[in-house]
Symmetry: C2
Subunit: 514 residues, 2 copies
């Protein structure tokens, strides 16, 4: 794999001097265009053999381009705030926004590769980590991120020569550390891990570029030119896509009639979905409710104190039709907890900073430190619910969201986070009754908006979307709990009981049936 990167390619100083000014100008211009378009982020990733010029290349790119719109990051040991979240949290928080360029040294590849080289992980675990990386990068790429990965290469001998020559120079000596020589001794292991990494994570959309690192002129020009060409290409692609999208939009005016027809059809007969199978008549008598509520709240309080002490976090997701009683259920949970230990995160329209990132970014940023309870009032499922039904997300976009969501949730669960997702359901008739009641109560009227009525018209579309969502994202460790919500007391006790059961299981106790 690396043989072609050991050919001793060089660029003479005079050649470099001749080509550099034009390249710099082009890079600056493209950076400017990228920023103006604000259409996608660029992620440049540098890995490879020590001494092959990763750091120097990054420094040079910072010199060539406008440093105000570049962001360079290197990841050392995670901070305590980082350790308390799933491992990829630290990478998500440093991702560049649309229109910006992020340069990453010792990125998400470093730890997996080093651990493999030093035998701390076996091949299966290593592959699993590479798979995780691929999912991560794919999610970014699908959101139009341009990811360029450079493997800066040196042969074993060339590396030795390079380290020795650095050590001889009194001004550069500091660059060579003990660790570099230790790594060098592991050269063959390192290369075999690298080969596997590149094989497994070189995707069509985020390929690795192997760059011979011996000659600074050669490697700088090579990297610079690839960056230039790829940004230019992507900018052009985005233009083409925009034009095509505009045409598609035009062409769409006709087929709408067909969609209307289907809608009429479903009007006549509601679709059979998982929601149809719920026994919406379930009830809890007032007296039983009072007793059960207190009991489960007491149980939750004790369990959460234990979870806090053990650093086990809980993430609860609430989705459901308007007026289903999500807020009421949430308040019955928070009432049982110490206010220091939980946060409720209401998901409404994204802020402009959030809009400049991948849609999962705003959920990643809200993950709390160890031992806390995070309650999402609406969530990342918006993409496959409201965004799907209202057409805010295109079909390919919401379809791939299932996989992205599963991957995201798997990371939470693998980090030891307790994750429970509630669909609080009510019947269409019950919703109408609640809307009408809200209209008649002055201090509740603000809760009811035009949008609520509009959403109601798409009841069946939502039912189908919920059906698909549960089918595709209910996993053993991140289950959906469907809550029959027509009777509020019943729903609240069910939610509380399920939360308790889940925390109890995580604490290693037998999860009792509530």
């Amino acid at each position: 794999m690396f043989r072609t990167a050991e050919l001793g390619r060089k660029v003479s100083k005079s050649d470099f001097k001749a080509r550099e000014p034009e390249l710099r100008e082009q890079l600056l211009e493209l950076q400017q265009k990228l920023r103006e378009s604000g259409r996608f982020p660029v992620v440049l990733l540098f890995a490879g053999v020590d001494g092959a010029g990763k750091g120097e290349t990054v420094n040079l790119l910072n010199e060539w381009m406008d440093p105000r719109w570049l962001r360079t990051r290197a990841f050392g040991h995670p901070s305590d705030e980082e350790r308390e979240r799933p491992p990829f949290w630290r990478f998500w928080r440093e991702l560049p926004g649309k229109g910006r360029i992020g340069l990453f040294l010792s990125s998400w590849y470093s730890e997996p590769v080093l651990k493999r080289v030093y035998g701390e992980t076996d091949e299966t675990e290593f592959d699993r980590q590479l798979e995780r990386i691929t999912l991560f990068e794919n999610a970014l790429v699908e959101d139009n991120a341009l990811i360029l990965k450079f493997w800066m290469h040196l042969s074993r001998d060339a590396q030795k020569k390079r380290l020795k020559s650095l050590e001889k120079d009194p001004l550069l000596k500091w660059r060579v550390t003990k660790q570099d020589w230790e790594h060098w001794k592991k050269y063959d292991d390192f290369l075999s891990a690298a080969e596997r990494t590149i094989m497994r994570t070189s995707t069509g959309q985020a390929p690795w570029q192997i760059v011979e690192g011996y000659d600074p002129h050669y490697r700088s020009l090579t990297v610079g030119e690839i960056v230039r060409d790829e940004i230019a290409k992507r900018l052009e692609e985005m233009d083409v896509r925009d034009r095509m999208a505009a045409k598609l939009e035009e062409a769409r005016s006709a087929p709408l009639a067909v969609i209307g027809e289907t809608a009429e059809q479903t009007e006549a007969q509601s679709p059979v979905t998982i929601l149809s199978s719920l026994d919406m008549e379930q009830k809890l008598a007032r007296a039983d409710y009072r007793i059960e509520l207190k009991k489960q709240q007491g149980r939750l309080n004790l369990l959460q104190r234990e979870a806090r002490a053990k650093g086990i976090s809980t993430v609860l997701v609430f989705e459901g039709p308007d007026a289903a009683g999500k807020g009421g259920s949430i308040r019955r949970i928070t009432a049982a907890l110490d206010a220091r230990q939980y946060q409720v995160i209401p998901i409404a329209a994204p802020t402009d900073e959030e809009r400049a990132h991948h849609y999962l970014w705003r959920f990643w940023r809200h993950l709390s430190r160890a031992g806390r309870v995070s309650i999402f009032d609406r969530s990342w499922y918006g993409r496959v619910l409201v965004e799907r039904v209202e057409g805010f997300a295109s079909e390919p976009t919401w379809r791939r969201a299932y996989a992205e969501i599963n991957d995201f949730e798997q990371q939470l669960v693998e980090h030891g986070i307790v994750l429970v997702k509630f669909w609080v359901h009510i019947t269409k008739e019950e919703q109408l009754a609640r809307f009408q009641a809200r209209e008649q109560t002055p201090h509740k009227r603000w809760k009811l908006t035009e949008e609520d009525w509009r959403n109601r018209e798409k009841w069946d579309d939502y039912a189908l979307a919920v059906n698909d969502m549960v089918e595709r994202t209910s996993t053993a460790r991140a289950p959906w709990v469907l809550v029959e919500g027509n009777d509020k007391p019943y729903a609240r006790v069910k939610v509380l009981t399920e939360v308790c059961n889940a925390v109890e299981r995580a604490l290693g106790k037998s999860g009792k049936k509530g």
Copy 2:
């Protein structure tokens, strides 16, 4: 001071039950209004004697109000990411945005008070810390934040009784820790520190409310009613202010002519400012430039490596007229540094999240971890420059900004951060020449906007603003360096040299004159 809070005030259970529902409803309604107005944040702070019900009150408020728009925070030991920034960074990052309510337990008062009680600080140091708090709260209050501080009180005997009774209850026993009893033994010291705290930090705008904490019903209603009344009052005040502002705006149409007149006057004769005293003829020959540049860049590289190892951060601020060469100077600095160790932060329009906070919030959030160089391309001085000149900030607003900025910078400096502020200056003629050159160079034309021409018309206003700014914010440890920028080589070398000198001084070496 606390005697009136030891009267044994009580509210009977029946009375509480009668008053609670209405209070809850009013709080919910006000919370809703606050959120809709989005005009100011509410900061509720709870301190006081252990066992006086701080935590319980906060939990109750979370139950009474809509938890989605509340945020409760308690500060324990700072994380490593927090320790690497000035102490108040952690408080700034948790402040609620406009329209939200933040509840703080063990807030910015905890550490100063406890350290004083345990004799770790003397009275002078304690007073200094309280002064810092007052400045912090004042800055928020001036930005319309509503700050309510509750001191929950118990007499010595009442506290003992309370702790004992908690210990007897098997369900509440866990609440009493060894620390609580240790604090209790220090009751008198604690109270004297508290008294001083309240005396020194009870300002007209952010007063302390002393609440007798023995009876849960009494204290809950008292706190709830104060919160209700103060939010209602502030909402009303904001309405009145808005109406007055609208009237003022109307009345303003006339005086504009007078301002025009003044502008004409100054046209004839430019004001004498600190900028007039600069020798703008200073130059550096091309050959000397090359040598000096390399020399200072090499020096900076070595110094920064040492600073990095010692965890000393550097913050550089660049201000100056359009086309003064700020960007060029910044690039000469970054070229000398490892891209991992610096970030350039271009300050343009705030994002909507930033707009929802105090104007200093967006600079606090950019402070980097220990050992890094942060370069601000334009900065917090925008308030006393462009915002003042363009009238975006009212006169009282920009006037008080000097003190806020000085306080902010003092915190950086006290944390050991090297702070240097550059005003890169050019003459009006030189600016014209550079604008014209930009117009004639195709790939530089984008750098020149309509706004640049408009700013130019207000040259003298800016000169006055700069004069005031330097006068009020140039301190020994956070000096302004005025850079004669007509000759780019001279300016760049001067900037580099000053940065080196400052870092060198911080490293405890004698700051050489460059």
